[in-house]
């Protein structure tokens, strides 16, 4: 028996979210009194692979087959399911990222395993039951799901589990996976990285703005605030619908749900659909000139006033803070 964790890399490096997933999987292997094995696909540098030991993995299956250099979910799912079988894994853990969303359902069907995605807590395990808490109703609620299958697949939401160093060294083994030629029926023609901006889904700090900004020409202030903080930028639905900002920035019920440590909402009234997407943020700051804006009801800190007046001062205050820390 073992727990298998898929360690996603971005351009050959592991991100913090990958180590979160490993920490989470290590805690599950502890609950089950079994070993944690990681599987990495692609060219990842040796230091990063060794780091997996620090977070609790005892062995890494390293797949560096040339054919698997670019992500093809069908082939990757075959490789991970194959590793799960060979390692006799009863729980498979991965990130609920764009990559994870394309992978986990295929792995679940291959192994006839129950799948919980958007998991936010460690599973509760006793002799007969295995339950996992996940978000539901677009952030308006949580659901506790019981997995009835022998094998379980869990996809963990970003920023839901603290990094925890528990182990030490790790053994890296080459793994020759089984996959079929028919797993490669999609062809990647181009990958476009959106400059050096921080990806919204796993950002720890988010600066978000709404119609109160009056027009796309006023976003320089929002971008400057995000840049001094090291935050990702986001927006409300009316803003992306109006084409002021790209759809990828739309946070809310029909956009992206985020769970950062800090969410700063500027000129967003706080419609129920928007609040659903930010409800699991740790700290919420609201800046709005309307004291009746519903967003203040769910905020931790609020400033009532004109964003155009407050933002330059706030940017200066953060710059001053950064200069001293």
């Amino acid at each position: 028996m073992s727990v298998l964790v898929y360690v996603e890399n971005a351009d050959g490096k592991f991100k913090k979210s990958t180590f979160e997933v490993v920490s989470y999987a290590a805690a599950i292997s502890e609950l089950l009194k079994t070993e944690l094995i990681a599987i990495s696909i692609g060219d990842v540098n040796q230091d990063d692979l060794s780091n997996l030991g620090k977070y609790g993995a005892i062995k890494v299956l390293n797949v560096s087959t040339v054919k698997l250099k670019t992500f093809v979910n069908q082939a990757f799912a075959s490789v991970i399911a194959d590793a799960a079988k060979k390692e006799n894994a009863t729980v498979i853990v991965l990130a609920n990222s764009f990559t994870g969303k394309g992978l986990s359902p295929r792995i679940a069907v291959k192994l006839k395993a129950g799948l919980v995605d958007a998991a936010v807590e460690l599973p509760k395990i006793d002799h007969h039951t295995f339950t996992v808490k996940r978000t539901a109703f677009s952030g308006k609620a949580f659901a506790t799901v019981e997995l009835n299958s022998e094998i379980k697949v869990i996809a963990l939401n970003p920023n839901s589990y603290q990094l925890k160093e528990s182990g030490s060294s790790v053994k890296v083994e080459d793994f020759q996976p089984d996959f079929k030629e028919s797993d490669f029926r999609t062809m990647v023609s181009e990958i476009v990285r959106s400059s050096d901006k921080i990806a919204l889904p796993d950002a720890e700090l988010v600066v978000s703005a709404g119609r109160g900004m009056k027009g796309p020409e006023n976003w320089a202030m929002i971008e400057e605030l995000a840049s001094v903080l090291g935050a990702a930028t986001a927006c409300s639905k009316p803003v992306s619908d109006a084409g002021w900002r790209p759809h990828e920035e739309h946070v809310g019920q029909t956009g992206i749900a985020v769970s950062p440590n800090l969410y700063i909402a500027i000129g967003i009234s706080g419609a129920i659909q928007h609040l659903a997407g930010v409800s699991s943020s740790k700290t919420i700051v609201v800046i709005n000139k309307d004291p009746e804006a519903p967003f203040f009801k769910v905020a931790d800190y609020g400033i009532i006033g004109d964003a155009f007046e407050i933002l330059p001062k706030l940017i200066d205050a953060i710059k001053a803070y950064k200069a001293h820390s």
Partner: protein, 245 residues
């Protein structure tokens, strides 16, 4: 081209979510149900691709009779016909197995879903269908163009976008950007009443998950209001009290 769009019946986005007294069931009393907003995007793109006699659009739904108004809405928007698999949607595995069974018997070139349903937010059906049918699945796409016997797709990835090509048949889950949702016109609404809606019985599949209970996020403490003239105070509190910067 035969296109199948999988649709879900979900609570209206403005609905307040509550549960029964022991928190084991979603309280549907007084809740308006709608066509899942992401499925509307998938449906709109399917209709565009089929326009001018280039194909047909079938919508499929796994659910009980109560979801028929939502299925009729999809027909009013422009689907040619509809199938309802008469079963309570137990979990994603169960639903995908039902739809995959129908696809195997009927054959489709393109199968579209929304990126997720706005109730259980699974984001699972498209990739599960792909696996059941052993065909490619592309999750969370932003753009879909069809040329001869292949499609070009843009999908979202961490910190960017990936452009790819894929041959038919395949499954894709659609996000904003793929198409603008369509509003049914009067002719659509009239014709939806007479368009075929086939009800078929479900197959035996054991679901793998059970939804045991629900909870509502804990309410936050009251807001600390700060003066607009002292943003330094906010920065200080974020550092010392909230400890987030």
């Amino acid at each position: 081209m035969k296109i199948l769009v999988c649709i879900s019946n979900v609570p209206d986005t403005t609905a307040k979510i509550t549960f029964n007294s022991d928190n084991t069931q979603f309280n549907t009393a007084g809740v308006q149900f709608i066509l899942n907003p992401y499925d509307e995007i998938a449906l709109a793109r399917a209709i565009e691709l089929a326009e001018g006699g280039k194909g047909t659009v079938t919508v499929i739904h796994v659910g009980e009779i109560g979801s028929e108004p939502t299925i009729r809405k999809a027909l009013a928007i422009g689907a040619d016909d509809a199938v309802r698999i008469n079963a309570y949607a137990r979990d994603s595995y169960y639903v995908s197995a039902q739809i995959a069974h129908y696809i195997k018997d009927n054959g489709f070139d393109l199968i579209l879903t929304g990126r997720e349903s706005s109730d259980y937010n699974g984001s699972q059906i498209a990739a599960m269908l792909g696996e059941f049918l052993d065909i490619p699945s592309i999750s969370i796409i932003k753009k879909l163009e069809v040329e001869a016997n292949q499609a070009t797709i843009v999908r979202e990835i961490e910190g960017g976008k990936e452009h790819l090509t894929v041959s038919f048949p395949f499954v894709a889950s659609c996000a904003e950007g793929v198409a603008e949702p369509k509003i049914p016109n009067m002719r659509g609404i009239m014709s939806a009443r007479t368009k075929p809606l086939e009800v078929i019985e479900s197959i035996e599949v054991a679901p793998l998950n059970t939804f045991k209970s629900y909870s509502i996020p804990a309410p936050r403490g009251s807001v600390t209001l700060l003066s607009k003239d002292e943003p330094e105070k906010l920065v200080e509190l974020l550092h010392t009290e909230a400890k987030v910067i």
